[in-house]
Amino acid sequence: MPPVWYKSAPYRSRAVIDPRGILREFGTQLPDDVEVRVWDSTAELRYLVLPERPVGTETMNEEQLTSLITRDAMVGVAKVTLPTSRGNP
């Protein structure tokens, strides 16, 4: 089930016109050369977000990697971070 904010008017109205602004509110600052593609799910298709694997996780096993995943990362508004850097600006 998606979180409440995902189904709310503020998110639904802005996601298509101001995706970078929304991501900033989630603490995700994207460089200008990163292309943003918004997928507006207007039909019966649903999309699975595959979070980008963070640098420094090369030696982790599946269980350790799974523990890094957050709901926000699966929704696509946050990056997956290592525990040491999580919470830092």
Binding site: S13, R14, V16, I17, R37, D40, A43, E44, L45
Partner: protein, 218 residues
Amino acid sequence: MNGAHDMGGQRDMGPLEYEKNEPVFHAPWEARVYALTRAMRAWGKWNLDADRHALERLPPADYLRMSYYERWFHRLARQVVEHGLVSKEEFESGMAAPGSTKTPAMTLATFPHWLSRGIPSSEDPNVRPRFKVRQRVRARNISPTGHTRLPRYVRGKAGVIVRDHGVYLFPDSNAHFQGEKRQHVYSVRFTAQELWGSRAFHNDSVYVDLWDDYLEHI
């Protein structure tokens, strides 16, 4: 229908209210409304598209004020009365009218597939696509008075077909029980600048899933 629900591209609708460790439901009644909504579809009196349209037909001020599951509750109340499963009096009193046998209790024996899910879709070769991948198309500038899944913000805009998803029921007719009109659905890429003007970010884009009937040749 050009309604309050079709809000893509609007601004200033309030802050994002993020909740840390949010529960699946915030109150038991929400879970109940969710389950009832899923279960009541098993009567087959209405389909998923009609259910979506019933949400859109809530008065706009109510639609924006209500929480997600409040909307679901009011939709369900409307559907069961409009489709004759219960009378308005029965709904308000919570009691079956004396002698009423119209809507017997739902049980697993009578509705073994009550939660059966699945959206009718197929790779039907008899339904020909009108467009090809990489073709430039324009979203039609139409304002249907009934249900539609063509967002206002893409109408009249040009885009490119990036994928053919196969054949799906056409919501604009299916929601009104006017036939399935099965047709191809495509992922169509619109640049942010085409949608929002030259001040939009130059390499951003929005991908929208659109039915054949929503598109025209350029």
